[in-house]
Symmetry: D3
Subunit: 61 residues, 6 copies
């Protein structure tokens, strides 16, 4: 039943998401004792203007 939310900067290609979904699912099935169909993943793509670190927008760095 794990639900995995991945918040990351926008800009990954479909191929990167495809590989990421596969690898994250393998990680969870290997170590959390669940079957692959029980793993749901949601990618949340964040604009550089909507992410801040150390008080600064990433778009300003």
């Amino acid at each position: 039943m794990p639900v995995i939310n991945v918040q990351m900067l926008a800009g990954r290609t479909a191929d990167q998401k495809r590989a990421l979904a596969h690898a994250l699912t393998e990680a969870v099935t290997a170590h959390a004792n669940v079957s692959p169909d029980q793993v749901w993943i949601v990618f949340e793509e964040v604009a550089r203007e909507n992410w801040a670190m150390a008080g600064k927008l990433v778009s300003d760095r």
Copy 2:
């Protein structure tokens, strides 16, 4: 005070969201002992390329 986040594939119409907001709010007020104005709902629409199940992007299924 409940906050309800609904992550779902993009593509619902405004009418569907309207009906969904009404029905979810009724469900919560009926069973969680809160008044309707205390119920906030956020719909997060997810692209098919950003949702994976069983290690596969929904856009690839």
Copy 3:
């Protein structure tokens, strides 16, 4: 595929959660065109000390 996260103050009984899970699932299947087994719900119970409105902790109101 909807995932519904419900953040609410702690204190609901198992019976309330049971009724809430049933009613929320009905709301989504009725209006978002998905089958019940595609609806996952997570209740996040929040202590009164961990929820603030208008700048005040709920535990202080």
Copy 4:
């Protein structure tokens, strides 16, 4: 290590986000005993059609 997710209606300017990121980071470093580089903030902009209060979409109010 705090991660701060801010869900708000879309429409703030980059300048508002810049000021908000700065002020939220100051609030956390002042009161939660962390250094600024440990504070990550994500703004999630929500369309008026995707936010409901009291069972009504904000876009219908």
Copy 5:
């Protein structure tokens, strides 16, 4: 309408949360053009065993 979720390591006192809730609400009302009663904040306290950075649990650092 902002909802602010703060994920942080467990261990802050009620006084720290009180000050934090006040300061975060001020930051949002000052820069996002909303009234204080429209600001909801949820603190999610995370055990050191449930937070990882650079592939290592915080409890192992």
Copy 6:
């Protein structure tokens, strides 16, 4: 900058979390072009009474 939230049923051991944190971080660094120290992971452990699938609490299945 990815933040990964993993919602799963409670009950994993520290060793499982340790292995999971390591494997998830490897997956992200391999496929999303980030360095390990940029990957933050939060495990949210959910009680069986707080997770529902197909309208039924997991604790009732």
